[in-house]
């Protein structure tokens, strides 16, 4: 018989080997394929996310290289127009939806509980669900491409070209249903991040002590739960139009093509910020480690992260400057798009000042982060140019925009991510990446990137429209395109060097120890790789830089991860209050579960059924999904969800 435990005064102990062993037994994922499929460990899920996202990055990169071969010179016939259209659409879909956001989710998944001093995310099973759905939705979206009917209307998929009369194949159906499906993954992931940051920070970690990366992912997640419904709805309405003859976007029966653009960009532009803000946060957290000083201007940088997102909700129409909206209406969006430069400038000046006022140690990671500042500024000013309505009337839909968005996505996502791999790979694997190969990796990527995309600004200024599968001679674009193609291959070689470094270092890299870079935040206080329970005792935080307190000497208090609450009655972690991180409750964490996988299988059946009009399959999948949800939510005694004692 076991009595109900409603309250407990947690034991404060010093972490000893015996406690660690006990926690290991409680938290360890069982070995084997079953353990892997049912694991809810945020560290495993985080690494799975990162690896899967890189797989998609490589796929998207190969698509890009094929397109660059087609565009190496005028009038090439490597690809048919239809092949080219599917390639550029799939490339955009892959990089924006299947690489850029998931890779950041992977890092945040891995790092958040470690940075926040918690033992897992707030909803570990939801975490597994968001990963499985991401994989399933990615495969779903690629299935069309694999059988030759990939999306072919670009990543923003404008109607009416995406409507059935002009696009009768299944191409858009794969994309539409896949995006709705992927939206579920993004939404549950974002909800998980939000509750994690609101409820499971270490005691003492008030909102002014959170790492900037946490601010970044928090902001991105808040944006996601607000805007993902817009795109899911848009794709759902489009699918209804295509399959059931409704008229949401059909002009002949009172629908509006521009409704698509509004719904898409209300989502699309905030999303663009959501895929860069966490990466900017990585730079804000990791660049100072290599500059050997705290970030300059934490408060303005934290605010600028949030302010970017808020302003980001008011710039969606700058993708629609040429749609005929009245000039005054456009000018509001012009103003918002120009002023959004201000918070970005705050970050740039803060990073630059951190370099100038620190003593930078030039490692590969530092090179990626510091070059990111420059790439960010180039992507920023080209964005600033497109914010000016009359200028954008010329720039939009040309290669200038292609250059801009690649500077933004590669410069502010890929470069920080690769830098972050150099920083946190030792934490994940216990081995350092090779620095010598790292330098080669950096310079190859940097030079390749510059060669590929700097000329594209000029290609655009010389009038080359985007999304054309070939171009005639004598347009003044030949040499620029040749240079871009060469650069794209150099960039690809740089990414290849990264993979070589990763594989080689996994086997024979130098051992890292807990804190190879002498970092300041909590994740560096645990061994590499961290134990399954992360922290033997719940750490107490008294400043923003727990591991630098002795050296910064900014207050008399000291953070600790040595002594604290033990919490070992099963899987447990601490809930703290929203603003101040006061200890509030003991959370019971779920163990391994197949429910997320089963729910994903059910949902996959549901979406495949919808795609193929196999209503029995959709109904069956929906029933499996509903049953998994009910089973998942059924109160469990082990999770302290049932009031009655066992003997009743």
């Amino acid at each position: 018989m076991e009595d109900i435990e409603f309250e407990r005064i947690p034991r404060y102990v010093s972490a000893t080997a015996a406690y660690r062993r006990g926690l290991g037994v409680i938290w360890e994922t069982p070995p084997g394929i079953g353990g892997w499929l049912s694991s809810v460990d945020h560290k495993k899920i985080g690494i799975c996310y990162i690896v899967t996202a890189f797989a998609f990055l490589i796929l998207g990169g190969i698509e890009a290289l094929v397109m660059r071969l087609q565009l190496i010179g005028p009038d090439r016939h490597l690809l048919t127009p239809e092949q080219y259209d599917q390639l550029f659409s799939t490339h955009g879909m892959t990089m924006i939806f299947l690489y850029a956001m998931p890779v950041l989710s992977g890092f945040s998944n891995y790092l958040w509980p470690l940075m926040l001093g918690s033992r897992d995310m707030a909803f570990p099973r939801l975490n597994a669900l968001s990963y499985w759905i991401y994989v399933a939705a990615g495969l779903f979206m690629y299935a069309g491409f694999a059988i030759g009917v990939g999306p072919n209307d670009g990543w923003f998929n404008y109607v009416p070209y995406a409507s059935r009369p002009y696009n009768p194949g299944m191409n858009i159906d794969f994309y539409a249903l896949g995006m709705i499906y992927l939206g579920i993954s993004t939404t549950v992931g974002a909800a998980n991040f939000l509750v994690t940051v609101m409820r499971t920070r270490a005691p003492g970690m008030s909102v002014n002590r959170m790492p900037i990366m946490v601010w970044g992912t928090l902001t991105a997640s808040a944006a996601n739960i607000l805007v993902v419904p817009a795109v899911s709805l848009a794709f759902f309405l489009l699918w209804m139009d295509r399959q059931f003859g409704t008229h949401f976007f059909d002009v002949s029966a009172g629908g509006q093509p521009l409704l698509w653009q509004h719904l898409f960009w209300m989502f699309g532009h905030p999303w663009v910020y959501a895929v860069v803000l966490p990466a900017m946060g990585m730079v804000s957290d990791a660049l100072p480690i290599f500059c050997r000083r705290p970030l300059v201007g934490y408060t303005p940088v934290a605010l600028s992260t949030v302010a970017t997102m808020i302003l980001g909700f008011g710039v969606w129409v700058h993708h629609m400057f040429a749609t005929g909206l009245p000039n005054l209406a456009l000018s509001f969006f012009s103003g918002a798009s120009i002023i959004i430069t201000v918070p970005s400038a705050v970050a740039v000046f803060a990073w630059t000042a951190t370099i100038w006022l620190g003593r930078p140690v030039i490692t590969t990671a530092f090179l990626f982060f510091s070059s990111m500042i420059v790439l960010f500024v180039i992507g920023g000013v080209s964005g600033f140019m497109t914010a000016s309505v009359p200028v954008d009337w010329q720039l939009t839909q040309t290669y200038f925009v292609v250059a801009h968005l690649h500077y933004v996505l590669i410069g502010i996502n890929l470069f920080p991510v690769v830098g972050a791999i150099y920083v946190w790979f030792p934490k994940m694997t216990s081995r350092l990446l090779d620095e010598r190969l790292g330098q080669w990796n950096f310079w190859t990527m940097f030079i390749g990137f510059k060669l590929a995309f700097l000329p594209m600004h000029l290609t655009g200024l010389r009038g080359m429209p985007r999304r054309i599968y070939t171009f005639p001679d004598h347009m003044g674009w030949n040499i620029l395109n040749l240079v871009s193609t060469v650069g794209a291959f150099v960039l690809a070689a740089g990414v290849l060097l990264l993979l070589v470094n990763v594989i080689q270092s996994l086997r024979s890299g130098r051992l890292a120890g807990a804190n190879p870079w002498d970092g300041a935040t909590l994740e560096w206080s645990v061994p590499s790789p961290p134990p399954s329970y992360n922290f033997a005792v719940i750490p107490t935080v008294v400043s923003r830089h727990p591991l630098w307190e002795d050296r910064l000497q900014e207050s008399a208090d000291r953070s600790t991860a040595i002594e604290g609450m033990l919490l070992d009655h099963g899987r447990e972690t601490l809930a703290t209050t929203l603003l101040d991180g006061d200890a509030d409750a003991i959370l019971k964490m779920p163990g391994e579960s197949y429910a997320p996988l089963l729910l994903t299988v059910g949902l996959s059946g549901f979406f495949v059924g919808l795609l193929l009009h196999q209503w029995w399959l959709a109904a069956f999948g929906g029933a499996v999904a509903t049953a998994s949800i009910v089973g998942w939510l059924w109160p469990e005694r082990a999770l302290a969800q049932i009031a009655q004692p066992r003997h009743v």
Partner: protein, 150 residues
């Protein structure tokens, strides 16, 4: 992080002055500016676009659907600026109550940022002023760009 200190030892609360300020005022200081900006932005956008392009044909050379639209937009704009300023003022008041929350010079507020209440107050102050500026940017458009195409 020191291995010798104890979690049960007396550590400073992150916001010793939390009892001195009302959470509602803090919240208004934080969200007043952004909310005012977003509200006036969306309202003016809706007005400007519908008044000049109501259905399927733009009103070129005929002026807006309702002659009072420019005035209305300016009024909305000014109201937005007033709310943002008010939020900044409230945040400034809260900051002056709480800026002694942790020792150190004023620049510590922005850099070290200790003291959760004063951190939020100073963030509110910056947000209020910043979004006041953002709304002011829209005045430029209202004053310079004709309401509908000629």
């Amino acid at each position: 992080m020191s291995a010798t200190s104890s979690a049960t030892a007396t550590t400073a609360h992150p916001s010793p002055h939390r009892a001195k300020v009302s959470l509602a005022a803090l919240l208004f200081g934080l969200v007043g500016g952004p909310a005012a900006w977003f509200g006036q932005f969306v309202a003016n956008y809706a007005l400007a676009s519908f008044a000049c392009f109501p259905h399927d044909t733009p009103r070129v050379g005929t002026g807006p659907l309702w002659p009072s639209v420019p005035t209305a937009m300016l009024a909305i704009n000014i109201a937005g600026m007033a709310i943002a300023l008010l939020a900044a003022f409230v945040a400034w008041r809260l900051w002056s109550v709480t800026h002694g929350e942790q020792p150190g010079p004023t620049s510590h507020l922005l850099e070290v940022g200790e003291g959760r209440t004063r951190f939020l107050a100073v963030v509110g102050l910056m947000a209020g002023l910043g979004f006041f500026g953002a709304i002011a940017f829209n005045v430029v458009a209202l004053l310079m760009v004709p309401t509908c195409a000629g």
